[in-house]
């Protein structure tokens, strides 16, 4: 397969991931605004994204192959600039808390997650551009 095929495959994986992630965020927002119990938050979809990102932020090798976490981290890094260290720590902390069963997400944490979704969306757009440039 040419590079095109791989970019298409990655694009598809990333768009599916973003869709699931956004659905989870919407669910989170909806249950928050309606004061519902958050027991059923689809944490899995959020952790699928957060875990590999955190793993890399902590300097480990990530085995995840569902999206390009390196590119997503780069996009987040560019966005947060001099506040990068604080943002990085927030992501790692949130990942650990969600992994250990946390079910409530604050407004700030929600914004942290929204930034990650935006970064994945930008990564999808980059991949789409690469596919579109194909003759």
């Amino acid at each position: 397969m040419s590079d095109f095929g791989l970019f298409t495959s990655k694009f598809r994986q990333s768009t599916n991931l973003l869709r699931d992630f956004d659905r989870a965020l919407r669910y989170l927002k909806h249950s928050e605004s309606h004061g519902d119990s958050q027991d059923a938050i689809p944490v899995g979809a959020i952790l699928t994204v957060l875990k590999p990102i955190s793993k890399m932020l902590e300097g480990n090798l990530s085995e995840s192959n569902s999206f390009d976490e390196e590119s997503v981290i780069e996009i987040l890094y560019r966005k947060h600039g001099k506040f990068w260290q604080a943002y990085k720590e927030r992501v790692i902390k949130l990942t650990n808390e969600l992994e250990s069963g946390k079910t409530k997400v604050s407004e700030d944490e929600f914004s942290t997650l929204n930034d990650i979704a935006d970064a994945i969306s930008i990564e999808c757009a980059t991949l789409f551009k690469r596919i579109g440039r194909h003759p």
């Binding site: 397969m1 298409t8 768009t15 192959n65 979704a117 789409f128």
Partner: protein, 383 residues
Amino acid sequence: MRAYLESIILEQINRAEELKKKIHYPLKYPELSGLAERCTLILDEQINILRELKRELQSRENCDIRDIFREVRLCIWEISLLEYYGIPPLYLQTPDIGFLNKLMFKIHQEIKLPFPPPTVSCTSGEYYYSHPFTNVIFVPLAEPEFLLHMPDLYHEVGHHVIENMKSELRLQPIKQNYLLAFSKVTEYYSRILVNKRRDYAPPDILMAIQRIHSQWKDWIEEFFCDLFALYTLGPAYAWSHLHLTTKKSNDIYELHILQKQTHPSDESRMRILMHALRNLGFAREADEIQSRWFQVALFWGNNTVAEYQYAFPDEVLGEIAELVLDAMRAAGFSLASSEILSGNGQETEIRIVLNRAWQKFWQLQGHEFREWEKSCIQSMRDS
């Protein structure tokens, strides 16, 4: 912004509706019905999502539409991809497209592919590539007239196997060993990292190893597809890799550390194919191909970058070749063997024809081979 987003949603719904009209029914070739169904299904799905987003938009404030904006863009991209890479073969439906799809249907039966065959379209602007979203394999325009590179169809099918292994129960052994193979890769590089850190290796080396590990996330898929092609088709795939490398490779030891490299080096791909040929019992053929390869490789010399020693360790390649073979056996694929390729009355099997083409290529003079190839393709078209 909300009103603008709403207009974009309406525009995209109209585009998806128009694309559905580009599928000409009744279809000329029944093999295209899977693609027609798939495209219609995806377009309808996107239309429904867009309608749902339009409804959701009504209940949102202008400052609270980040997620809807993201999702609308996803729909736009997916509709565009269908327009570029799904609808064209259905709109064109040329005799060459009909022939290639008949061929793919036969391959799918021969190798016992446990999901519907991908569609093939000879509208590629470059070499072979697959579009996993629409399930279409694109090949160059004149490809239906030649045999020597057709083995790459099997490699492309490998990409569809990976795509389907997530949901197809019969592909579970593939999924398990694919993940296991990548774990072996991670174990290998974690071990090297530990050793290098212990030896106070310079940070550049550590970074290179981390980057190489990250590149393996793409390389593993390419290696899998090479192995899939070789195990189902046999030596013809290794010959075709040699042929393509000879014609088009710029560096058989290609390795980039800082920039993304989606494919492993041609040298490492040939090495894993040699493991696979021997695993399958084609030792004589492996020796023959390897001997040709060494002659061809001289053209590039042996100027590898220092990090190349870490990139494609032979022990990992050997392990992956075995894991893929075990998985393919467990998943029930029909694998190539000397017995199958010798014919046994089934002379019309595509894999027999493609392996024979390579034997003829080495035996006959150029023009004689071309005559043989043309008559062979004609009988495939007529059958």
